[in-house]
Structure formats: structure tokens, C-alpha cells
């Protein structure tokens, strides 16, 4: 008997398109806020929405990984392709991990907010790790990142909440019933 794949083809394609949407939103939606990390609103919203629409462990990680490769190919991010790829990937993995630890209901506003906050802040792990790898004193690296971290937490949380609101609106509109038909 043929082994069933973990993600169906439809789910894989949908997650791939979500990854592309993450990159598109990051490029197209630039708000005049002058605050670092504000693009995380749609970024985290889409990651949370993807985890809600494909309710399997690893969905957010796959979105993170794929969008990381796409972003690296597009030359996004100032610190080079490696940092871009790792940042996007870690956001996905972090979101998956937190979602799993919190019980896996991305429609819950608190859960989604926490997923958004921690997932988005995971980006700092990459920056911190790469900064440490260069041999720069850890204190300098931390000092350089501390200003931005508040923005990342706030926008990550807002993104997570937006993701949950999106999922709720989709449920109200009968999107999940439509999806079940397609599956």
C-alpha cells in the first residue's frame, strides 16, 4: 500500500502560495511608521493563518522555510542571504513550536498573540547568533538589538492577533466548509 504523504498536494501548494504571499506582503506593504519590524504584522498574520488553515504540525515551519528561500533569492534583507533565510525559517519553526506548546488553537486571540510575539522575536535569535559568530562581544550585540526588540514584540503580537481575526472571519464566511469540500 502506498504511504500517504504528511501534507497533501493541495496543502503543500497552499502553503507554498502562502509563503509567496508573505514575501509579497513584506515588499508591497510598507507603512510610513518609522518603526522597525512593522512588516511583521502581515508576516505573522499570514503564518498564523497558514497554521490555522493547514492544521498540521510543521505547516508554519514550511511557510517559514519556503518564504526564506524566496526572500533570499530576491535579495531581501540587509544582512545577506544567509541571515534572511535563517530569519524567515526560524520564525516559522518558532511559531510552530509555540503553537504546539500552547495547545494549537490559532483562532484563540491570546494564543495567536503569543505565537506572533514569540515567533517574530525568534528572528532575534538569528541576529544574535550571527552577531556572536562574528566574535563581537555579546553585550554590544545585545545593545544593538535592544532598541528594535520592542517593535518586534509589539508588531509580532499584532500580527498574531490579526491572524486569529482573519481565521475567525474566514470561519464565519464559511471558508473552512469550502476547504473541506476541496480536500
Amino acid at each position: 500500500m502506498k504511504k500517504q504523504p504528511y501534507f497533501t498536494t493541495f496543502e503543500l501548494i497552499m502553503l507554498a502560495l502562502f509563503s509567496a504571499l508573505v514575501v509579497v506582503a513584506k515588499i508591497a506593504l510598507r507603512m510610513p511608521l518609522q518603526l522597525s519590524g512593522h512588516s511583521g504584522i502581515f508576516w505573522m498574520a499570514l503564518v498564523v493563518a497558514a497554521a490555522g488553515i493547514v492544521p498540521k504540525r510543521g505547516a508554519a515551519s514550511l511557510v517559514g522555510l519556503t518564504s526564506g528561500i524566496l526572500a533570499a533569492f530576491l535579495g531581501m534583507g540587509d544582512l545577506g542571504a544567509l541571515n534572511t533565510f535563517l530569519s524567515y525559517t526560524v520564525i516559522g519553526i518558532g511559531s510552530d513550536l509555540i503553537l504546539w506548546l500552547l495547545g494549537g488553537d490559532p483562532e484563540n486571540l491570546v494564543v495567536a498573540g503569543l505565537v506572533g510575539t514569540i515567533g517574530h522575536t525568534c528572528k532575534f535569535l538569528v541576529k544574535w547568533a550571527l552577531g556572536t559568530l562574528t566574535g563581537a562581544p555579546v553585550g554590544f550585540v545585545a545593545l544593538g538589538l535592544v532598541r528594535a526588540v520592542v517593535g518586534y514584540i509589539v508588531f509580532g503580537a499584532l500580527g498574531g492577533i490579526l491572524g486569529a481575526l482573519t481565521l475567525r472571519a474566514l470561519r464565519k464566511a464559511g471558508f473552512f466548509a469550502y476547504l473541506a469540500e476541496k480536500k
Partner: protein
């Protein structure tokens, strides 16, 4: 796509002819260079700069460095003043290496070639396929995303918050007006693509690829050269 930064495909680079597996190995090797001490790191930097010049990627690399000039300068000055000039130089060179190591790969490889390399690395075909599909859908999704933004703005359902964070928080509910249609359109498109893929024999067990990866003379020269360089750097005292 509207605004892209950084290393897009450099078609006239001689590295375009190299196998993506070779380039991936080169980039991974280059990333490890950051662990070298200053003297060896300096030699590696010169060698890498020569490689970039030959590959016609020097400009891309310089542009990448230019983007982080303030960060580099700040780190250099602080490290110099607070710790030592030695550390300042090491940190600056390592950061330059880390930000540029993968320029070689991403500026000379197409997503299709990456897909083939991933398949060679035993990544299941559906995953590799979805990756290249995502890349090909970027322009399409970009225009759809912009259409949604314009439509919702013209209906007054959403406007770009210009008043700072407070206004953005107030508007968070309104942002659903953008995210919901985007998700629905994406799901519809995904379904259409799934049907099209199956209609073209996506799950056929006897799949063959039109393009296949082959290691040429250039690949072996590059691999042998980088291996010899690495050994020389490690043995050099």
C-alpha cells in the same frame, strides 16, 4: 514585482554554468571561513574577492556591503575603542563574509536549478515542486495583493496608517479587510493549481526531469580549488 533589492540573477557570470551543488558547497565552505583568525581571514577575503571579480559578482557584493556600511562602521569604531583594533578588524571581516557568502549562490542560480539540487539531496518531489511554484507565483500574487489593497482603499475599508503605532492598533480590525480576500484568493488559486498538476500527471510514479544536473569540468576545478585553498589555510601557521 515592485521593489526588489539585492542580488538578482547575474546572467553574464561564468558561475551561471556551474552546477548548483558546487555553488552550494562553495557557499557553505565560505560561511565556515568566519571561524578563522585574522591573518587567515584576510587571505581568505582576498581569495574570495578575486573569485567574485572573476565571477563578475564583485559589484553585487560591494552593494551588499554598502547597505550595511553604518553597521560595519559603528561596530568597527566601538570594537576599536572599547576592545582592540584586532577584534575590530576580525569582526568587520567576519560580518562582511557572513553577509556575502551566499551572494555566489543566489546571484547565479535560478529557483529551477535549486529545485533540481534539492531533489538530488533527496527532498521529495512535491516539496521541491511547491518551492518552484511559489517562486513562479510571486508576480501573480503581487498584482493580486495590490489589487486588493487598492480595492479596499477605494471602498474606504482601509488606509495606510500614518499616525504612528496608536492608529495602527486602532486599525488592526480593518486589516482583516486585506488579509481575508488575500487568503481566499490564495486558496482558490492553490486548488486550481492542484487540479492542473494532477491533470498533468503530477503523481506519476515514473517521473523524469527535462533538465538534469551534471557536474562539468568547471565544477571539478572549483571544488578542487576551494578544497586546496581550505587545506592550505588550515595547514598554514
Amino acid at each position: 514585482m515592485a521593489k526588489r533589492k539585492g542580488p538578482l540573477l547575474v546572467n553574464d557570470s561564468p558561475l551561471r554554468k556551474a552546477d548548483p551543488r558546487t555553488k552550494l558547497a562553495l557557499c557553505l565552505g565560505l560561511s565556515l571561513t568566519v571561524m578563522l583568525p585574522l591573518e587567515k581571514l584576510f587571505v581568505a577575503t582576498v581569495a574570495y574577492a578575486l573569485l567574485l571579480l572573476w565571477a563578475r559578482l564583485f559589484r553585487s557584493a560591494v552593494e551588499q556591503i554598502w547597505r550595511i556600511r553604518f553597521l560595519l562602521l559603528g561596530l568597527f569604531i566601538v570594537d576599536w575603542l572599547v576592545v582592540s583594533p584586532y577584534l575590530a578588524m576580525v569582526v568587520t571581516l567576519r560580518l562582511i563574509f557572513l553577509t556575502n557568502a551566499f551572494t555566489l549562490f543566489f546571484a547565479t542560480t535560478t529557483p529551477g536549478e535549486l529545485r533540481l539540487a534539492l531533489e538530488w539531496l533527496r527532498l521529495p518531489y512535491p516539496y521541491a515542486f511547491s518551492l518552484s511554484l511559489a517562486f513562479q507565483s510571486l508576480d501573480l500574487l503581487d498584482s493580486e495583493w495590490r489589487a486588493i489593497l487598492e480595492a479596499q482603499q477605494s471602498r474606504g475599508a482601509w488606509h495606510k496608517p500614518g499616525g504612528g503605532l496608536r492608529e495602527l492598533i486602532k486599525q488592526i480590525g480593518n486589516l482583516v479587510a486585506i488579509s481575508v480576500p488575500a487568503v481566499v484568493l490564495t486558496a482558490k488559486r492553490a486548488w486550481g493549481m492542484t487540479e492542473a498538476a494532477y491533470a498533468r500527471g503530477f503523481d506519476s510514479p515514473h517521473r523524469t526531469s527535462y533538465h538534469e544536473l551534471t557536474m562539468g569540468r568547471l565544477d571539478w576545478i572549483l571544488l578542487a580549488g576551494s578544497l586546496a585553498g581550505s587545506v592550505a589555510l588550515l595547514l598554514w601557521r
